[in-house]
Amino acid sequence: MKQANDIKFNIYNPVITYEHRAAFDQIVSQLQEIFPICNHGKCKALEVSDDPQKQKQINDLMEKVEFFSNSLITITRVFFDQLYRAKEGSSQSIARSTAMIKTAMIERNLLERTCDVRWWALEKAFSECITLSNNSSTGIKNVNNKSQDEKLQETKNKTLDPELKTSVEFACRRLEDIRNSYTLYRDLVIVNLNGIVVANSNENRRNAVIGVKVSDEDWFKRALKTKDGTEYYVQDISSSKLEGVDSLIYSTAIRSNGNEQGEVIGVMGVLFDFQGESQIILNDYLPQDSNASTLDGWYSFFTNLNGIVISSSDEYAFPSGSMVQLPNKHWSLNSSGEIFTSTTVIRGKRSLVVSSKSEGFDEYKGLGWISHLILPESAMFERSNDKNNYGISPQELMNSKLIPDLNKETYKKIQQNKGDIQLISINGIILATDLGKAGTSFIPIFDQITATGNSTTGTMEGLLSEMSSDMLEQNLKALENFSKQAIDLIDRNLFERAADVRWWSTDHVFWEGLMENSNEKYDDASKRLGIINASYTMYRDLIVADLNGRIVASSKSVNRDKLKRMNVSEHSWFKQGIQIARSVEFGIQDVSNSDLENNDTSLIYCGAIIENGAREGKAIGVLGILFDWEALAVPILNGVLPRINDQKVEGGAAFYVNSKNIIIATTADEIFKVGAHVDLPEKNLNLEPGEAASGVFELNDKRYIIGSSKTQGYREYKGLVWSAHVVRPME
């Protein structure tokens, strides 16, 4: 048993609730009343019997009672400590995983951005436009030192040669197409070798941006130095002449003829809407009141390598651009993936501060940002209002795997002490009875001892069952949190796939091929698909089908002959795609078996290839992209498996379920099998978009706790009505 000085949460700790302090006082004062009773008993022993052996027996009994009372007082202290430690532990682990998920989300997003910029820089329209601009003597002029009016005048009077003008217009158009497909960018620019912006994507900013000289900006200089098309540069949040707000700019070189190995002829820069994106991430997972404002004392923000706040859920408390007001250790974490937790006073409230350094994602090493989550200490020890016991007795709960062994030991110890006191009392009564009439005066003493023992242990049992139901609630909350992470990560990824398919369907090689309908052009299309598939590792195959559902091009040469004999006109993805008349739309075929692939299940995105590459018009074919869904889903699911102290809980599982309640990906194929209809409680399956639920259910005579979240979509991507579920066995 722990010594008193190991106790972290003693009864004077401000986090201990009033009710608990009252219960503690009651237990201790009752136990302390036992000591005078025992003294009384010892005195009585001398009165009622002359037999020294009997006197000793009574004395021994009284001393035993004193011993167990003392022991119960100690246990009570330890017990309160454990109760609060348990709450602290599970609250902290939820807070840590929440801080971590925020870096994971931003990192995954930034990784996608690096793929994007490298791929777009290869677009022929851009290299052609830049080549013309570099060669033109009457080209676009630097307008940096001119007023807005002068700039406008300049643009109007521009005497661009007609070929360059057409080329710039086309480049702008293609940049607009990208921005329409990928809504995460504020602007995209291409810059010639002199550092002058030649074309941009944002029409509203065009006059202000074209002609601006950025040759002294880091993102431009570093992009010029990239060795080949695989390299890129990210400029951490800083000011740029391109925007009034701080920008996060991804850049890479534009190379001659759009060739990855070509000579550097210019730079492409993409201005990621970091502020918009991080607001979504930061405000997520923060509890709100009924007016949808974040609860007082909860903050979430990112800092960069220098401890400067780069985005914040509360610009008043932690303004962007300021040095973060936290103990140094929180913003100077060294190694990636490191987490530091402390309790400190934030804006007048004792708060838990969790800081988690990003560890990068895949090849993307990240910018060393740190995600901070702050919550009031009182929130960690709050009792949940939800008093649902899910039909589980406190005894069952106490014995379940949800309760840490340490707490179980305390419970056992309390039970033992209760048993000991009861036994001593009865033996005392037996002894008193043997003393005959003289002994009857002892009986009230032992009755009192029994009553005190029963009452104190009864109070403690009540507290224990309160603790175990709190632990259940917190575990359920953690699983809900994990399931939300799982669905959010997948939604964000699927959004990217939706953006990819929309953009690629506009590629000139495809619509030209379909319009010309020649084998030569189809070979070009296959080559193009092959290049895409090589740069984006998450696709199994990419295919183009003509109006009749005949496959005319595919990315993988191995499967090409087989595919070319196939007709996909009855496939859901094709039927969806051929109905599309606008390049900003897309379709999805939910995870299912597809004869396009051999044994795997596919998730297929489709976009219409529109006549003449128009933004709106008649579909002349469909681009289908077969996403390697399991390769994405299973690692995410593994990442959200329930853990205790970073160790996976035995028997824990996570899985995704589609709209038909069929499991589409899983970490536990023996129990929650892919393709099987899942049998879960109604309230876990019938969720509204963005809603989460938790509960207890039984499967194969085994009881599980479960947390579930329904997709809430992300930006234009509305989701496929999927849900994520994380379970943990109770026994």
């Binding site: 033992q416 009861q422 009564i429 037996i430 009875t433 043997d434 009986i443």
Partner: protein
């Protein structure tokens, strides 16, 4: 008279306090080969050899297993019992001390003499001595001597 009550499954039973020598939780029981199966074995109680009867097996229900809650009643032998004065009824046990292994003990209760009823004839069982009403419950008061006699048959 005071009775110490205990449970066999969920049935409440009682023994008169004066017939009990002491109640313990952790005696080391030595099993004896060849003994009737209702006997768990022998214990050494400060030099005395005491036979332990498993109450579950004696009633032909599930065996009482040693657990956190199980207890052993050590009953007085006849000569120890004689020293006790003021009995509501004539107590008898046996010439030797015996122990009874029960699954869980409950409260000590006081039942006046007129609260004791004879066991109804149709449920007469050799171990039963009285049926006592206590609050809303019936408690069967055991006759310890018969338990040992039965085993000797």
């Amino acid at each position: 008279m005071l009775y110490s009550t205990f449970y066999l499954d969920d049935k409440l039973m009682g023994l008169p306090i004066p017939s009990i020598l002491e109640i313990g939780r952790s005696f080391k029981i030595h099993p004896v080969k060849g003994a009737p199966n209702v006997i768990d074995g022998l214990i050494n109680l400060r030099g005395k050899v005491v036979t332990i009867i498993n109450l579950g097996l004696a009633f032909d229900v599930e065996k009482v297993e040693p657990t956190e809650e199980s207890r052993i009643y050590i009953l007085k032998n006849n000569s120890e019992l004689k020293k006790v004065e003021d009995s509501d009824f004539v107590l008898q046990t046996s010439p030797d001390n015996i122990g009874i292994h029960v699954s869980r003990i409950a409260d000590v209760i006081n039942v006046e003499k007129d609260g004791l009823n004879p066991v109804p004839a149709n449920i007469n069982h050799p171990f039963y001595k009285y049926v006592a009403r206590f609050n809303d419950e019936f408690i069967t008061i055991l006759e310890p001597s018969n338990m040992l006699n039965l085993n000797e048959q």
